[in-house]
Symmetry: C2
Subunit: 595 residues, 2 copies
């Protein structure tokens, strides 16, 4: 019996024990508030921060949160930013989840775009909505925060569209099992879940027995026969490819927790490794067999060549969204592809449901050997700072320049726009974590997610948190700078001031007024939003190459021991190569003409 099968069996044993235990739970043994039960589960999941905004219907629960010894309440400025923060926290803190607490109607609906983004990008977030008591839900009085027509279920109906599962708590008898069910879904399927907590249940006493068995994050085990068959098929393809194999890592390698397994695979085999944009830093970009970012037709030519000419592509955790694939321009025939996913495998044209990569990868690694491919030349993934005649901070110069500033274990966050495209070509250091929202693409997300990511970075011992955000995007969510200050986080925030929504300009309306924005005093924001005496933060404007270079060399700046904001003056109609090309492709498919 392989070790993997033993692990699967053990997981099954644990699950069965949990079921038995809950049936055997003795009433009254160490009773606990429902609210505290929930917090205990979150603590088990290593949650240290809860995001959200106080509101009627969640205040009673908030007392428990504020009093909790290891979970801190982070009062955000608004609920959308809070949901963004929970998302960012979960991305950086592997094996934990993000949690956002809102209030009935007004709060939860404000957060819903943040939850939808987490759903889209497979981020485990728990959304707790404090709601009226069960008796009020039955009698449906016209409370504030209701729709006035008696529909108390409208928010649940909305939430269901963006949650992998929901728990609508109705009584103490089922509260614990419901909480456990929905948290288990959250961690095993890496998507948001929604839980309503009625005011009258928060302090109901229930048994704490179930807490003795931690929740299991293991996915259901692969069927052994199918798995065995699949392995044989894959190994056969590898042999047929005479080891001309390339590995392509993508979003779900991170989101579904197989980075360690992937690392084993790549170091054993030595296959060339590339990454889709959403998989950037799934594998260390410092790894000697790593060749850079593959993004369909807009890849660098040598990367495009190497990936598309390989006899076999092992695609791990792919998420083929438009911006992640150069607008769907992968030129990789299905016949030459094996796709590994969290819950299915594709071998050429055959799909094998229920065969997940968490278990499959180690078995595959065991069957493969260091190959001749380990000697194949990899394109040099580097980004030299170009020599430009003038002193303007161009996009083409800025990103490679920033590449010289990053350090191992930095958390590097790039807002949708010039940032998320510009950063792609820049190798990030060992142990660094790349954070962006390339599929959902909600501008302004990164201010909230930076807050969450910075907290998580503290928890897991990462280095600095560095954010790149455009001026247009910053306007959507600016107030959350206040929370960063309030909690003494120390991100470095580069604000790209190029007077407008640049990604929109390149999609459509290059010279349109609607792509302009109001000009703010960017370098006064931190002062106004909480740095009362000017000692908690530092802000800079860099107008040209010389000023930026000098700042990056400044040891105090680099040390990042207080929150810092850098306004970077950049030309209006400049954009990274990748954005220009992507926008051109997207623009063609956005048929603003009769078809």
């Amino acid at each position: 019996m392989s070790t993997q099968t033993a692990t699967s069996l053990q997981a099954e044993v644990n699950r069965l024990r949990l079921q038995l235990e809950s049936l055997q739970a003795k009433d009254g043994s160490e009773p606990i508030n429902v609210g505290d039960y929930l917090l205990a589960r979150l603590e088990q999941l290593k949650v240290t921060k809860m995001f959200g905004v106080p509101g009627d219907f969640n205040l009673g629960f908030l007392d428990l949160v504020e009093d909790h010894p290891s979970i801190d309440w982070v009062g955000n400025c608004n609920e959308l930013n809070a949901a963004y923060a929970a998302d960012g926290y979960a991305r950086v803190k592997e094996h934990s989840i993000g949690v956002v607490l809102t209030t009935f109607g007004v709060g939860e609906l404000s957060a819903i775009n943040g939850i939808a983004g987490a759903f889209s990008e497979m981020v485990p977030v728990l959304h707790i909505a404090g709601v009226p008591s069960i008796s009020q839900q039955k009698t449906k009085p016209m409370l504030h925060h209701t729709l006035g027509d008696g529909r108390y279920d409208a928010y649940i109906k909305a939430a269901e569209n963006f949650s992998i599962s929901t728990a609508i708590l109705t009584d103490k008898a089922t509260a614990a099992t419901e909480i456990d069910r929905v948290l288990t879904d959250c961690i095993t399927r890496a998507r948001p879940v929604y839980l309503t907590l009625p005011t009258n249940l928060v302090y109901e006493k229930i048994s704490s027995e179930r807490l003795k068995i931690p929740l299991s994050r293991l996915p259901p085990p692969n069927d052994p026969d199918t798995e065995s068959f699949v392995l044989d098929e894959v190994v056969k393809l590898v042999k047929d490819a005479a080891d001309d194999v390339v590995i392509l890592v993508d979003a779900c390698a991170i989101r579904h927790d197989v980075r360690a397994e992937v690392n084993e695979l790549i170091t054993k085999t030595g296959y060339p490794v590339f990454s889709a944009p959403m998989g950037k830093t799934a594998v260390s970009e410092n790894y000697e067999r790593y060749g850079g970012i593959y993004v369909g037709s807009i890849s660098h030519p040598d990367i495009k060549e190497q990936v598309e000419s390989a006899k076999l592509i092992l695609s791990i955790g792919c998420l083929k969204s438009d911006f992640n694939t150069g607008n769907f321009t992968y030129s990789i025939p299905t016949a030459r592809t094996v796709e590994l996913h969290s819950d299915h495998t594709k071998v050429q044209f055959a799909a094998y449901q229920g065969i997940g990569m968490k278990e499959l990868l180690p078995l595959l690694t065991a069957r493969l050997e260091r190959s001749a491919a380990s000697n194949v030349t990899i394109p040099d993934f580097s980004a030299a700072v170009p020599n430009e005649a003038d002193d303007v901070i161009s996009q083409a110069w800025f990103w490679p320049k920033m590449g010289t500033f990053f350090k191992p274990k930095d958390v590097i966050i790039a807002e949708t726009g010039t940032s998320s495209f510009g950063i792609l070509d820049i190798p990030l250091p060992e142990g660094s974590v790349f954070v962006s929202q390339i599929l959902w693409g909600s501008i302004g997300w990164t201010i909230g997610s930076t807050l969450g990511a910075a907290f998580a970075a503290q928890d897991v011992g990462l280095n600095r948190t560095i954010l790149f955000i455009g001026d247009g995007s910053l306007q959507l969510t600016v107030q959350e700078l206040s929370s960063m200050l309030r909690h003494k986080l120390k991100p470095i925030i580069f604000v790209l001031n190029n007077s407008g929504y640049t990604i929109e300009r390149f999609l459509h309306g290059k010279h349109r007024k609607y792509n302009d924005i109001a000009n703010w005093k960017w370098t006064s924001l931190l002062s106004v939003l909480g740095d009362q005496d000017g000692t908690l933060s530092k802000s800079y404007t860099v107008n040209n190459k010389e000023e930026l270079s000098a700042l990056l060399q400044d040891a105090t700046f680099a040390k990042a021991d207080k929150i810092q904001l850098v306004e970077v003056m950049m030309p209006m109609h400049d954009a990274p190569r990748a954005l220009v090309q992507q926008a051109e492709l997207s623009g063609k498919t956005n048929a603003y003409v009769a078809i």
Copy 2:
């Protein structure tokens, strides 16, 4: 035949003509873009401003908006604020609607709380979501802003919960009728509607014939027999009450456009008139027969007495939410009540569906006469500035003091919290408009709604726009101050700095840290968010009674010829009487204990 029946018939004639015309529409006569057809309808509805945020999928339509001669594009900082602005615009600009344009997924979901609030409070808002082309909706590629699992209908499903009707445009053949249908629903039912505009339809040419017939905002006519019966019943009750009748106006008197009809009724009969909080300024608070605000058990004793002892209460457009009724403490027996609504009438215990007040009110007025009740004493509705020993700006002093500052036709906006409760007891001048969100109660709403209201005030020749908002609430939506500056609006914004979420403190957690907020430099906000050289705005801090009094006396300040922000320093644990009482009542029903 009564004039009312003639009007109803005429409306029916118009509707029939419209149907005929659409059937007879000749192809190719003055073809018009679908996008321009929509804008033409909005122009007919006297829309002058469109709120929203540019995003992929709406940029092609945005070109038409930007080029439109009479509809201005207002690019907001984020979509929630944009929806709030559309709501505020619609409230102040009677007989028009608010319009907000967002993009697929990320934009529309960010706005949804704003739409839900408009739904709840019966405000006609059109939400246009720019969406991918019809062919993309069929093939469902994994575009940015999608959920990654192929569900292209998830946002529609969410929106349906908060829209009175939806139009999902699919082809040019039905575009005009769909647009007309949903706009008609919006204006006749005074609730939000949702329309998706695919990129490929914006420039499709369709006939413009239908535009010749304006959309009708008249509700369906009352059935004559039922109406006649109801009138007799009501008149009988009035006679039985020996004219001891009191009129209570509420939200829907405003929302469903019967202020003129109500005015006729009250001036003819001379009955004492009171208002629920949500009906404040439906009737002029300057009217000599107007006695003030009735709010159940927390009303002023003489108002409570007069309303509750009347033999008959004519309730016009009531919306009996918790904060609107002193937590449901109306002590008015059903047997003594007649309720008039937009689509039904209640006479004591009998309900008459389909009998709307728009038609009924004039008929009722015709049957009534000036009564002895016109001599009954009305409580004196005034708010004397109390003599307080110290110099602290207390809630009890602040609101009456502000009462001395208001002028006729001012638009006065009060955020949920101390403001919305504190302002209730203050008589507002002739022609002024009170704006608040007492049922939905989403804090921060007023920054967005003030933007919209200020635009509308310009359109309809109202006076100054004056906003009262708490420091906690301002943090949620602060960026929209930028849009006010950018469009040279001139509201006066009073920021009540009492260090936290005061309404929450009084609901629960008075001394809890979660009710604290970060302290911002409130008087620097306008400078940082767009007043680059300091000439476009003015900000003040008033620390005590003397400073506030002096400011209110300052003629330049009062003239409000530029945007102004006043930080008002107030004690942390002080609240208006009405809020204290309401919070106490609400707190009892929020059972944070086992029941």
